[in-house]
């Protein structure tokens, strides 16, 4: 906890993040370069043909969509329980990113589904869960924007995020259950051939690092904006 609180100081955070950010950004670019190169060099899948290349941008988007919510949940906990000063900023900064990657997951999933199933949307269990996750993100962002008092908004959204977190496994379970009633098929079935594993994992890492990069930039921006607001308030008084 002490380590966490040392970097909770905005100045320390800015210093540390400023030093680390270039490395994370470069790693992101490297992962994308290698991942895309490998992704386009693999042979077509015997079942899915060349559409298997969509796996390399769909699954990583899935991962980040859920990762972002996890990040928001952790920040929400830090905000409510330990009153970590940067936690509110971090949670708010992550939300639009989470929504963006969720939307990408849905769009790439639908485009993958069309050649596989014949239509863009068949209420596949995973894509349906992601649609609901998108609504969770939108509600979260809407609540933040609607409440005027920043501190209250942060606390309210923290509660909402944690309730959402508790409900997500239930939602996933219920959608899966619902889907088995109607016997849908999932895009991704079980095993992935090893030749696809390398580009997939590298792209997943790349997307995760991309999220981290964008998140850090947004948090740093929010810290500066907060400082500016404080100065404006002092100047006005």
């Amino acid at each position: 906890m002490n380590v966490l609180f040392r970097y909770a100081n905005p100045h320390e955070f800015m210093r540390l993040s400023g030093a680390v950010l270039p490395f994370i950004a470069i790693s992101t670019a490297l992962c994308f370069a290698i991942g895309l190169y490998l992704g386009f060099s693999v042979p077509p899948d015997y079942q899915q043909g060349t559409t298997v290349t969509l796996m390399f941008i769909h699954v990583p988007a899935d991962v980040v969509a859920e990762l972002a919510y996890g990040a928001i949940a952790v920040c929400s906990l830090l905000s409510l329980v330990w009153r970590h000063p940067l936690a509110d900023i971090a949670a708010r900064a992550a939300a639009p990113l989470g929504a963006l990657f969720t939307a990408l997951a849905i769009i790439t999933g639908a485009l993958w589904g069309k050649p596989m199933w014949g239509t863009y949307w068949v209420w596949d269990a995973r894509l349906t869960s992601f649609l609901l996750l998108l609504f969770l993100y939108l509600g979260y962002m809407a609540l933040w924007n609607a409440m005027e008092d920043e501190t209250r908004a942060a606390r309210a959204c923290s509660i909402l995020a944690l309730i959402g977190l508790a409900d997500i496994p239930i939602i996933k379970f219920s959608v899966d259950w619902w889907n088995t009633l109607h016997q849908g098929e999932s895009i991704m079935s079980g095993k992935i051939a090893t030749v696809y594993l390398a580009p997939l994992l590298i792209m997943m890492l790349g997307y995760a690092l991309l999220f981290l990069t964008l998140w850090m930039v947004r948090i740093r921006t929010a810290v500066l904006e907060r400082r500016a607001r404080t100065l404006m308030r002092e100047a006005a008084s």
């Binding site: 609901l132 609504f135 969770l136 939108l138 509600g139 809407a142 609540l143 609607a146 409440m147 008092d149 209250r152 606390r155 309210a156 509660i159 909402l160 309730i163 959402g164 508790a166 409900d167 239930i170 939602i171 379970f173 219920s174 959608v175 259950w177 619902w178 009633l181």
Partner: protein
């Protein structure tokens, strides 16, 4: 129970809305009785949830606006119990009436008697969850002037398991699957919701009251 009496009007509103939606959908979809029977579980469940939402934004706002919420929060009775009482009052004035009206509306959809009975049971079990989770949304948004628009956006995704299990129980009956599995899952969800929501609602009320 003063709360329930005050919300007699909201029961009429919820019932009218419920009936209205149940009337509009066939108008939009056509009078194919077989199709309607298959749709009934989902349509009626969604309509019931939406109808129950109508009166939610006022759950805490009345007390908030006239200042009595501050006193309730300071009173010796734990805020969690007050929240639970409000959830119960909301259910008695919306969820329960909706449940009782549902067999009649099921007739409009040509739903067979056995399925209609399961619809009633599923709503009976599930609507408390709607009131409970709805109360969390109401307490989070109580300080917002136009919070009524955000409230459904926040809580409808959280309620999706209730709709899935509730409507699933009924449509299962149409296919010959016994409903106990789905109803059991719905009951678990509802119990968890009712037990845990008062804590979240009370915490949200407190944060909105503090300055």
């Amino acid at each position: 129970m003063k709360l329930a009496a005050r919300s007699g009007g909201s029961a009429a509103l919820a019932l009218s809305f419920f009936a209205l939606v149940a009337t509009l959908v066939p108008l939009g979809v056509g009078a194919d009785l077989q199709l309607l029977a298959r749709m009934a579980s989902g349509v009626l469940w969604v309509a019931a949830v939406l109808a129950a939402l109508l009166s939610l934004d006022r759950l805490f706002q009345g007390d908030f606006e006239d200042g009595s919420l501050d006193m309730i929060a300071l009173a010796p009775l734990p805020l969690e119990l007050t929240a639970l009482a409000k959830i119960a009052a909301h259910w008695l004035s919306t969820g329960l009436p909706l449940t009782l009206l549902s067999p009649l509306l099921a007739l409009l959809f040509n739903l067979p008697g056995a399925a209609s009975a399961i619809l009633l049971v599923s709503l009976l079990i599930g609507t408390p969850a709607v009131s409970a989770i709805g109360a969390i949304g109401a307490s989070l948004t109580l300080s917002l002037k136009r919070g009524g628009l955000i409230l459904p956006l926040i809580i409808l995704p959280l309620l999706s398991p209730a709709v899935i299990f509730g409507a699933g129980a009924v449509s299962g009956v149409l296919d010959g699957t016994p409903a106990n599995g789905a109803l059991g899952l719905l009951a678990a969800f509802a119990v968890a919701a009712v037990l845990l929501s008062p804590f979240a609602a009370a915490a949200s009320v407190r944060l909105n009251l503090s300055s």
